[in-house]
């Protein structure tokens, strides 16, 4: 049986990728770094690095936002794509990049103690202050 594949890409299409397997339930991160990088907050799905195939990395750039994390974006269009836990075996992929249907539902908010003051979280999902 072939495993399901989920395709995604940046806004301009220069960076395209495929994730093999079902997408784990996405997490919304409201920390101030994710908020600045995305322009609102980050919703991403953590997949095994071995499950992510990036088809063309020519325009992919990495910004080291902390000791353990680098953030991947497209140099042409600026799309926020990847949150790479450098020393771990997973990478978080931005949900907005995926073609529908994603087949998954957001399940958790984290770092809500740092959330922006201009919106409320009202979807009833669990909220973790850290």
């Amino acid at each position: 049986m072939t495993e399901v594949q989920h395709k995604g890409q940046c806004l301009c299409g220069a960076v395209a990728f495929t994730v093999t397997g079902d997408l784990p339930t996405p997490t919304a991160c409201h920390c101030s770094m994710c908020r600045r990088h995305t322009g609102h907050f980050l919703v991403s799905t953590e997949v095994q690095k071995t499950a992510l195939q990036i088809h063309d990395e020519t325009q992919l750039r990495w910004y080291r936002s902390s000791d353990r994390v680098q953030r991947g974006f497209c140099a042409t269009c600026g799309a926020s794509l990847f949150f790479d836990a450098i020393y771990r075996d997973w990478v978080a992929v931005s949900m907005g990049a995926f073609e529908p249907p994603t087949g998954t539902q957001m399940s958790l908010h984290i770092f809500t103690a740092d959330k922006g003051d201009y919106y409320v979280i009202a979807d009833g999902l669990p909220q973790n202050p850290q």
Binding site: Q9, C10, L11, C12, P26, A28, S32, M33, R35, R36, H37, T38, G39, H40, F41, L42, V43, S44, R61, Y63, S65, R71, G72, F73, C74, A75, T76, C77, G78, A79, S80, L81, S94, M95, G96, A97, P100, P101, T102, T104, Q105, M106, G116, D117, Y118, Y119, V120, I121, A122, D123, G124
Partner: protein
Amino acid sequence: MARVDITGGCLCGAIRYSAITARDIVTLCHCTECRRFTGHHWAAVRVLERDLQISGSAKLAWYAHSETARRGFCADCGSSLIFRFNDADFLGIAAGSIDTPTGLTAGQHIFCNEKGDYYEIADGVPQSESW
């Protein structure tokens, strides 16, 4: 609508700005392009061009996603910062880039017909299918 003094910048700090907003509400856009640009969806406040001062603008990169509008981001860290129509005298500044406290409130969801399938809009803020 009230105008608000704001400051903000990108994640790496190369780009900083100060502005007086044209409105005190944040518009949340769920269109496919905004979702791809941000990784989730767009949230921005309107600022007249003449009310915006940017430092580090040499690092501000632009992508023209259509013939009528373009998006600005930091070339060093990739932070999503600006949406603007080419012929308008105002811009949308990413709310997540604004220093806290922002003094702003979410005021409208737009292009909800294009929203992602993995989340619900449940905050009671008015929703529309276009602008």
